[in-house]
Assembly symmetry: C2
Homo-oligomer: 161 residues x 2
């Protein structure tokens, strides 16, 4: 796996186009799935285990937005800089490829698609990452291409590793 | 505003290309913003009001995924059928256009972009909706194009209104 500085010392320059990084894991249980869905996505196949059995999914599944939250937690804990993140304008091609079910254990594979220095703001750049959420059976359950604005390494610290 | 049957009697046929629907509202407070972010998106401008003041955003802002959750809650309470939703394969062009801050009141504007009957499964179709999340100052804070698979109205019930 390609070298990456710790997230407390990771800057725009550390995101190298073509690099593929893997991280994880995070689990998800039925109670969490139901609690999230009751707050944000109250469809019965997310909130009611019995009704979910009669749904097209054959049982309780996590809201896709819950899966996005779990993806984000792994992304923040392992990939995105803790010191240089300047926010995200959004992303593209969000796909919920397979259901996430109670007991699933998710991990992350992230490919750096693009790392483009800003033309208007020389202290930062935009990193586009292809994020894949993978379950314990090596199935890709969700993908997303996200853009993050990330500060460049400050000149005075350029020799640190 | 175009007519829409209640969500307990809304099917694929009720989503008419070009129709624009508005719904809302939902509020969001600082405690909720911090709680969501601590679970899913622990960046300091989402979790720490004091540190957030020194961030590029000048104060606490909601995780974009929290905004997506609030969007989804309005979408489920008002727009998506409660009886005919068969899940979503995903969406495109997710944009976080403006920060969401404590005390904001959000509403939804949804445009039916496409409603395409399935070729392989005659009992359903795919509805593509352009979803805009709008704050109390009429600013668009988030947009997303989402695809939902929705069952057609069962023939025996076709005369119900």
């Amino acid at each position: 796996m390609p070298f990456l500085r710790p997230i407390s010392n990771r800057y725009f320059e550390d995101y190298v186009e073509g690099d593929v990084h893997s991280f994880g894991t995070i689990g998800v249980g039925a109670d969490e799935i139901v609690a999230f869905a009751k707050q944000f996505d109250p469809q019965t196949f997310h909130t009611d285990p019995e009704a979910a059995k009669r749904s097209p999914f054959g049982g309780l599944i996590a809201s896709g937005w819950h899966t996005a939250g779990l993806m984000t937690r792994l992304f923040m804990d392992h990939y995105l800089s803790k010191v240089a993140s300047l926010g995200s304008p959004g992303g593209d091609e969000l796909r919920w490829a397979k259901p996430v079910r109670p007991g699933d254990i998710l991990s992350l594979r992230v490919t750096v698609l693009k790392a483009v220095p800003s033309k208007s703001k020389p202290d930062r750049g935009a990193v586009t990452s292809f994020v894949e959420v993978i379950n314990q059976d090596s199935e890709v359950v969700m993908t997303f291409k996200v853009v993050n604005i990330i500060a460049k390494r400050p000149p005075a610290r350029s020799q640190e590793t």
